[in-house]
């Protein structure tokens, strides 16, 4: 552990620490542009120069390039170093526009900060500034090359860190250009990080341009709820609406970056159609009136038909507060549920994962980065949990071998061996691929829960247990369908799924249904059965912040607060409970409340739309109980009432890990999935990064990236059926007929048709207990006009 002195203060740091990091530990900020802790040191910008006064290194040197060593005496304020840093800033400002007061990056700009801090205030150069042509880079990232200071952070992130190649450097000397070969939409689903990582305004957030200055925003630490990873974010809100989301550092979860779904998925919160008033039989009422009406009618049905006649459905996109309030609601009233599982199969796999994960074997994304071998089974990180793909890439960059067992065509930003197989072959493939982990020391098994069943999850957990038994630091990492799938599984006592309730509605046992933050149309595979069942109900109550078809059709609609207004606790797929604080007060955004005037010209003492309840508060109200008054009281209530949530008391910066504490139960005989019949192809609905998730699917800018709906098939199948890439085919099964473009992929499993969820496919397939097989003669090629 070398000991050195920086600005007359001593510090001891681990071997290999750069001087710039050692100084940070003392609270000394050495200027930097190219250096970024996630991307490392490359010594390009030269602004981190310091003077080495004594020790093994002599003179002015770059603090990002030099390892701290014993006996070093470093001065950051030495005149020679300070002069050089000022010169570097002057050189960078030679060609940088002088429009800080009106620049949209102003106030959010490292170059601006360091120019002011470095003391370069007056332009001496008489030369002209160079200019560039900007490029259109898609709906998310705005390009403004004139501001570029050539720190190379963008291409280092884009190409080296995240593994995409369509953004790069061209030209040399003073004409270095950062962009694409031809302008066009950036291919990386992590492109939004360019905005965070650029030290000035070359890449800016396109949808939020001109919505405000950094200092105008209420900036709040948040957690992303658009997949199960729970990445940290910073939410910027202004005038009662969210305008921007950025990545926030987390040691254990996402580190510095977030994916574009997480960054731009928030637009559902303020879309014009969002329910902000209560509805009773189609009539608009206040939210409180709707709550009271629902409470009264549910009580009446309970009195008339008994508590079994009321069913409660929740979903894993709700906060832990809402989930626990629903469990409590059913306990106190005797109502049926709550049901958190959309479908039995997906719930079973996620539940198996929650049971299998323990403090010993559950790995965080940080630990995946240091793995030396990764076996992913039934998991497609780019589409299910995007940031996981970046963590896997970091492991691969340091030499990890990656093997994927999956029927789908996988497009991952790193090299991997793809063992394409169908569901019924997965178990055997996994068993034989496990051999390949034998030489590793820190293997990780990643297991998906969306297209796999609980048997595969348990097999993966067994594999990890076996590896740990043979002295390896092995870990298990499961992806789950939704932000709070882990939390829902912790609290789920019934193990029932929505289909089970449908049975009871059809038999007349259940006469009233209250659905919390769930869109049954989106998740329930058999839509005609669903609408028939719902029509039989005496009362359908929907509590939601999305204007789902269910909300539109409900007898009573209760608007609820979003995570930005209510906050909440979400448990990610490794059992990490993380607290989200509200980013702004609830109520109608000022842009909408001003009746067209923005900013509004008239004011009232009340905030319009302020009376919307959080879903958990609504849940308490439905049984006539008063909800806890504050968030802190609610959290305390949860700890007191649910043993499994007791550890919430120890919430720290990185959250707190909650585990089910139940042993894995290995079934006596593994369920082997049904074999695909000959002359049939399996239709496999699959999640996708843009457009397939219910909340972010409302973001217009992300829908632009969703591409055209398509069906993917293996080359061998396409050749046999006489279908070519880009053909249109019609698929007929059960009572459904869909027409899709064909994409041919190699490798992917033969005998499988993969259809990614897409906002333009009205029919939204969700995985169901039973697999869908389509006869080959039901796949018809459509002649193009």
């Amino acid at each position: 552990m070398p000991k050195l002195i920086i600005d007359n203060r001593e510090i001891e740091v681990p071997e290999g620490t750069k001087v710039i990091k050692a100084a940070e530990k003392l609270g000394i900020y050495i200027p930097r542009f190219c250096f970024h802790h996630a991307l490392g040191a490359v010594g390009a910008c030269r602004v981190c120069a310091v003077k080495f006064q004594e020790g093994p290194v002599d003179g002015v040197q770059m603090s990002c390039m030099i390892d701290a060593q014993d006996g070093m005496k470093v001065s950051t304020a030495d005149p020679e170093a300070a002069d050089f840093r000022r010169s570097v800033i002057e050189w960078l400002m030679l060609n940088h526009p002088h429009d800080c007061p009106v620049c949209d990056e102003g106030g959010h700009c490292l170059l601006q900060d360091l120019t002011v801090a470095g003391g370069h205030g007056i332009r001496r150069s008489k030369g002209r500034k160079r200019t560039y042509t900007d490029q259109y880079l898609g709906p998310l990232v705005y390009h403004e090359m004139n501001r570029c200071i050539q720190c190379y952070r963008c291409v280092r992130f884009y190409r080296e860190y995240s593994g995409y190649s369509d953004l790069g450097v061209t030209g040399i000397a003073g004409r270095v250009y950062f962009g694409r070969l031809r302008e066009g939409i950036l291919e990386s689903p992590f492109a939004g990080n360019l905005i965070d990582i650029c030290p000035t305004g070359v890449y800016t957030d396109r949808p939020s341009r001109y919505t405000g200055r950094r200092w105008d925003f209420e900036r709040t630490p948040g957690v992303c709820i658009h997949c199960s990873l729970g990445c940290r974010t910073t939410v910027s809100a202004r005038y009662r609406q969210v305008v921007r989301v950025e990545g926030r550092f987390s040691q254990q979860v996402n580190r510095d970056f977030i994916c574009d779904r997480g960054r731009y998925g928030f637009y559902y919160a303020d879309r014009p159609g969002r329910p902000r008033n209560g509805r009773i039989n189609g009539q608009t009422v206040s939210a409180q009136q709707a709550v009271e009406e629902a409470r009264d009618r549910l009580q009446r049905i309970t009195q008339e038909h008994g508590p079994e006649a009321v069913g409660i459905i929740g979903s894993a996109r709700s906060s832990l507060q809402t989930l626990s309030a629903l469990v409590h609601l059913c306990h106190t009233t005797g109502w049926q549920g709550p049901v958190f599982r959309n479908t039995w199969i997906a719930g079973a796999a996620a539940d198996a994962a929650v049971r299998a994960l323990s403090p010993e074997n559950a790995f965080s994304m940080r630990e995946i980065e240091t793995a030396d071998a990764i076996l992913a089974v039934g998991a497609d990180p780019v589409n299910e949990a995007p940031m996981l793909a970046l963590a896997m890439r970091q492991a691969q960059r340091t030499g990890a071998e990656i093997i994927a067992i999956d029927p789908r065509p996988l497009d991952w930003p790193f090299d991997f061996a793809h063992l394409a197989c169908r569901a019924e072959e997965m178990e055997e493939t996994l068993a034989s691929a496990a051999e390949r982990l034998s030489a590793s020391r820190r293997p990780v098994v990643i297991c998906g829960t969306e297209i796999t069943d609980d048997g595969i999850v348990m097999q993966a957990a067994d594999l990890v247990a076996g590896l740990r038994g043979s002295d390896k630091r092995a870990g298990l990492f499961c992806t789950m369908p939704q932000a709070n799938s882990f939390g829902a599984a912790l609290l789920d006592e019934s193990n029932a799924c929505a289909a089970d309730l449908a049975d009871r509605i059809e038999t007349g046992q259940i006469r009233a249904l209250a659905v919390f933050e769930s869109d049954l149309w989106h998740v329930f595979p058999d839509r005609s059965r669903l609408s028939t069942a719902l029509e039989k109900l005496d009362l359908l109550v929907s509590v939601d912040f999305l204007d789902t078809p269910l909300f539109e059709n409900a007898d009573i609609g209760i608007p609820s607060l979003t995570v930005f207004e209510a906050g909440g606790i979400y448990v990610n797929q490794e059992g990490r409970a993380q607290q989200v604080r509200p980013a702004h007060t609830g109520g109608l955004p000022i842009a909408a409340a001003g009746l067209g005037d923005h900013p509004p010209r008239s004011f009232s003492p009340d905030v319009p739309g302020r009376d919307m309840p959080a879903a958990w508060a609504a849940a308490f109200s439905l049984s006539g109980q008063a909800p806890p008054e504050t968030d802190a009281q609610m959290t305390a209530w949860m700890r007191d009432n649910f043993a499994v949530l007791a550890d919430l008391a120890h919430m720290e910066a990185d959250g707190v890990r909650l585990f089910a504490g139940r042993k894995v139960s290995i079934p006596d005989e593994a369920q082997i999935p049904e074999k695909k019949p000959d002359q049939f192809l399996e239709l496999l609905p699959a999640p996708t990064i843009f457009g397939g998730e219910p909340m972010s699917g409302h973001s217009q800018c992300l829908r632009e990236l969703a591409g055209l709906p398509a069906v993917w098939m293996a080359r061998a199948d396409a050749d046999r059926l006489g279908i070519a890439d880009d053909d249109r085919v019609s698929l007929g099964f059960e009572n459904i007929e869909v027409t899709l473009n064909v994409r041919i992929s190699d490798p992917m499993a033969q005998g499988v048709l993969v259809v990614y969820r897409h906002p333009d496919i009205d029919w939204q397939p969700a995985p169901d207990g039973k697999r869908i097989f389509i006869s080959e003669d039901q796949i018809r090629r459509i002649e193009k006009a």
């Binding site: 910008c45 030269r46 010169s87 050189w91 050539q150 190379y152 450097v169 000397a173 003073g174």
Partner: protein, 431 residues
């Protein structure tokens, strides 16, 4: 006195073919060494001879070879740097056109000394003729068993490919060259690790200049002492090919003992100053070295001698200026070149050089101000903190201009015009 070692077979109209080369003793050194010698023998004799890298950096070749560890991984690479982009330098081209097999034999011996099996000649694209000659002669050597598998029945395998550069100055920098060969941007790499430890594709790689490699057969054959005695004094070793250009009567390549005086190079070999010109200054080693003023007219031109005097011999490309030349204008020209050729990686080089060029251009055009001189002096010094040696090299002419010719600079500023008036104003930004 001209001492021809490398250029002894130089013919006015053609290259030396393989038979002629073998008849003059070619490939005997390689044959003997491969059959009876050890790799360490080559390293030892080169180290004892004090053969310094002729590409400009003057690093001892024997020392460089010995940094390839005995247990270093395979395959190992030998790269011949024939990029020769330093302005004023044209010795490598002459060497290749004189005796390509001397280079091939030199590469063979150097490769043997580190057991490298792959040889790459990285050549600038303007040297297409030379590249074709090398490809043809390497094929011939392969036919005769001088390259390929089991050379001279020694069990040693070695072959050569010729790679044409993309054509930028920075590609000739030893580590940028490796990136260029890998298909990446030619940004220099920051050692450590040095290329001999992790070079091309992270494998041990020795990069040597054409002229250095051409010496290897001679040193191996004739010994270290012979080589040291070629120089004018005990501090220097061998001969050096001087590429003389500028205001002299007979510009050209002259192979002379290391340490030959500048005055002798100009007067005896280059035929004296052209026309009625008087010696004013010269760049001793290409565009990235400082101006030697008149007071150094009798300076001995060797690596040690020049370094002691505060200069660099570089590639020994002597560019001579006479009394009618405006050195401010000449430096503007040099800076335009360097500002254009920067790889664009680090700030001082990418932004500082065009800034210096702009200031100096204004001075030359009569728009200079007194404060430009200290600005130029400060920035030229700060170029030393750039990422690689490119920017300090580019700043060397500026630093020496301010040191030795400040009066000329001041005259431009005070009279608001160029006192030499050899041409009109120099056009603006060179981007």
């Amino acid at each position: 006195m001209e001492t021809r070692v490398l250029l002894k077979n130089r013919k006015p109209d053609r290259i030396l073919d393989l038979d002629e080369y073998r008849a003059s003793g070619g490939y005997t050194a390689a044959e003997e060494m491969l059959q009876t010698g050890r790799p360490a023998d080559v390293q030892e004799v080169l180290e004892a001879a004090g053969l310094l890298g002729r590409g400009g950096a003057a690093f001892p070749m024997g020392v460089k070879l010995s940094t390839v560890a005995e247990d270093a991984p395979f395959p190992r690479y030998l790269v011949c740097n024939a990029d020769e982009m330093e302005p004023g330098t044209f010795k490598d081209r002459v060497l290749i056109h004189t005796s390509p097999h001397l280079l091939i034999e030199g590469m063979l011996l150097a490769a043997f000394s580190v057991r490298a099996e792959h040889g790459i000649i990285f050549i600038r694209p303007e040297y297409e003729n030379a590249a074709r000659i090398l490809e043809r002669e390497a094929a011939l050597a392969r036919e005769h068993g001088l390259l390929g598998k089991n050379i001279f029945s020694s069990g040693f395998n070695f072959d050569i490919v010729v790679h044409r550069s993309g054509g930028r100055y920075i590609c000739g920098e030893g580590t940028a060259l490796l990136n260029a060969l890998e298909g990446k941007r030619p940004n220099p790499r920051k050692p450590p690790p040095y290329p001999t430890v992790r070079g091309l594709w992270q494998l041990p790689t020795v990069v040597q200049n054409v002229e250095t490699l051409c010496f290897v057969p001679h040193v191996v054959q004739n010994g270290a002492e012979w080589f040291r005695n070629l120089a004018t004094g005990p501090d220097e070793a061998g001969t050096k090919i001087f590429s003389v250009s500028g205001r002299v009567r007979r510009p050209g390549c002259y192979e002379l003992p290391m340490g030959t005086a500048l005055s002798e190079i100009i007067e005896t070999h280059a035929g004296g100053m052209a026309g009625d010109g008087r010696f004013k200054a010269c760049l001793p080693g290409g565009a990235s070295t400082g101006y030697m003023p008149e007071s150094m007219y009798h300076q001995e031109m060797g690596y040690k001698g020049l370094s002691d005097a505060g200069f660099r011999l570089g590639t020994a490309a002597v560019m001579v200026f006479d009394h009618s030349a405006c050195l401010v204008g000449a430096t503007v020209n040099l800076l335009a070149f360097f500002a254009r050729e920067s790889c664009g990686w680090c700030t001082p080089c990418r932004e500082g050089l065009p800034y210096m060029h702009d200031l100096l251009r204004r001075i030359e055009n009569g728009q200079g101000r007194a404060e430009f001189v200290p600005m130029l002096r400060e920035m030229a010094g700060q170029m030393g903190l750039a990422y690689c040696a490119f920017a300090p090299g580019a700043a060397a002419p500026v630093e020496s201009l301010i040191t030795y010719f400040e009066d000329e600079l001041r005259e431009h500023i005070e009279t608001r015009r160029c006192p030499f008036e050899t041409r009109g104003p120099i056009a603006g930004a060179t981007k």
